[in-house]
Symmetry: C2
């Protein structure tokens, strides 16, 4: 038995999220179907985390066990030959039987992209949040700094989540303006349901000067999800890297 680790990139636009679903296309479903096409055996994969409908990944991590004789580093090539072109295996490798992509992860790094120009939106509409209005990026970065550190993020968790512990440690949280984009980067040891999109929505409200940066600190301390502002759309969000 070999345990194979895959570094996976996908365009989430055409999928109902990572997780397998009975009547909808999912990234998990496509990868499991691809493995079945290669070896003729139903194989369950485990990922570092789910991504929602429309969310993308440049560095999702997936593992599965197999008795197949396909060499570990050739799985990427083999899977890419049968996967749809919006899912690519960047690297495949052998890992220890004890490796777990979610439990062993130390942190995850996400990127959220905001596209600024009025022109070109038809081309990026699935890959960024198109916001051409004025945004004060200095105020947004001032607000983002309050997110860094270990906090109870209950105010930033969408309803429908079953978690009991809302404490997470955010190690990076900042925005960079470059050419046509504002890129938001956030790294943490874990994220609550919709946490990044709720933070992004709040930061945009700060950028619009509708909310002062210091209000972010108050919202964290309130631990009240009703205070959360708009939720940013999923299409600007990218899972960049899972760190081990």
């Amino acid at each position: 038995m070999q345990r194979i680790k895959l570094l996976v990139e996908y365009d989430g636009s055409n999928y109902h999220g990572f997780q397998w679903q009975k009547n909808a296309k999912s990234i998990q479903g496509e990868i499991e179907t691809a493995i079945f096409k290669l070896i003729g055996l139903e194989t369950r994969i485990i990922s570092a985390g789910r991504t929602d409908t429309g969310v993308h990944a440049l560095g999702q991590v997936v593992v599965f066990n197999t008795l197949s004789s396909i060499p570990p580093d050739r799985w990427s090539w083999a899977l890419n030959s049968v996967l749809p072109e919006d899912i690519r295996i960047l690297v495949s490798s052998l890992v220890e039987a004890s490796f777990h992509p979610r439990f062993d992860a130390v942190s995850k790094l996400y990127n959220y992209r905001i596209y600024r120009p009025v022109i070109g939106q038809t081309m990026v509409r699935n890959y960024a949040w198109c916001l051409s209005e004025f945004l004060d990026i200095d105020l947004m970065n001032e607000a983002a700094a309050y997110i860094i550190g270990e906090h109870d993020f209950a105010s930033f968790c969408a309803s429908g989540s079953s978690v009991k512990d809302y404490v997470r440690r955010v190690s990076q949280c900042y925005l960079v303006e470059k050419d046509a984009y504002i890129d938001f980067f956030i790294e943490a040891n874990g994220f609550l349901y919709n946490m990044i999109r709720i933070i992004m929505g709040l930061l945009v409200e700060v950028g619009r000067r509708n909310i002062p940066p210091a209000r972010v600190k108050e919202i964290i301390l309130a631990k009240d999800r009703r205070l959360a502002s708009i939720t940013a759309p999923p299409n600007g969000l990218y899972l960049l890297e899972v760190k081990y």
Copy 2:
């Protein structure tokens, strides 16, 4: 009767080109349907030029005549409310009854994008030619310089074209490498069928050092379409601007 000019942007990924087709989705079909939804009258539009399946536009120009009382500058807003989100009217305005978007055009400017990194291709696969291999951009620019000027471009016209006169005047032809992209720009008073994609294919062969730059001059002089090399895929091509 008013003649309305539209500046149109579209993501061509989901369309079988600009021109109306009986059993396939086209940009023209979508815009004519949108006009019908607004005023209830079948209205024919005329464009500055057709774009092929998968080709995009940031500055297509379209006109139509109408008796509608919709103010000229409000047509963009009205059409965007009924058009699919991958087609946007950037500007609408009143033009003289004699204005013709194709015959009055002095030149057209196109951009062809090549995406270089191995990572991120799933996201740009419909918007650029993904080529991660070595490309010598200096050689490519040396070759591109031979394209500039008035030439008989018979060697760069795909079969199936009905034109008799292959002479076109190219005023700009160069490549720029920036971040993840090589951007090719070409401006001419007109283009033959697949001309830009054939030139792009040839320049990539030069970049691969399979063909010396001076060979481009020989191919122009030969006026033989069989000499044309690979044709670049449509998805990297953008109609940027029609100049009047």
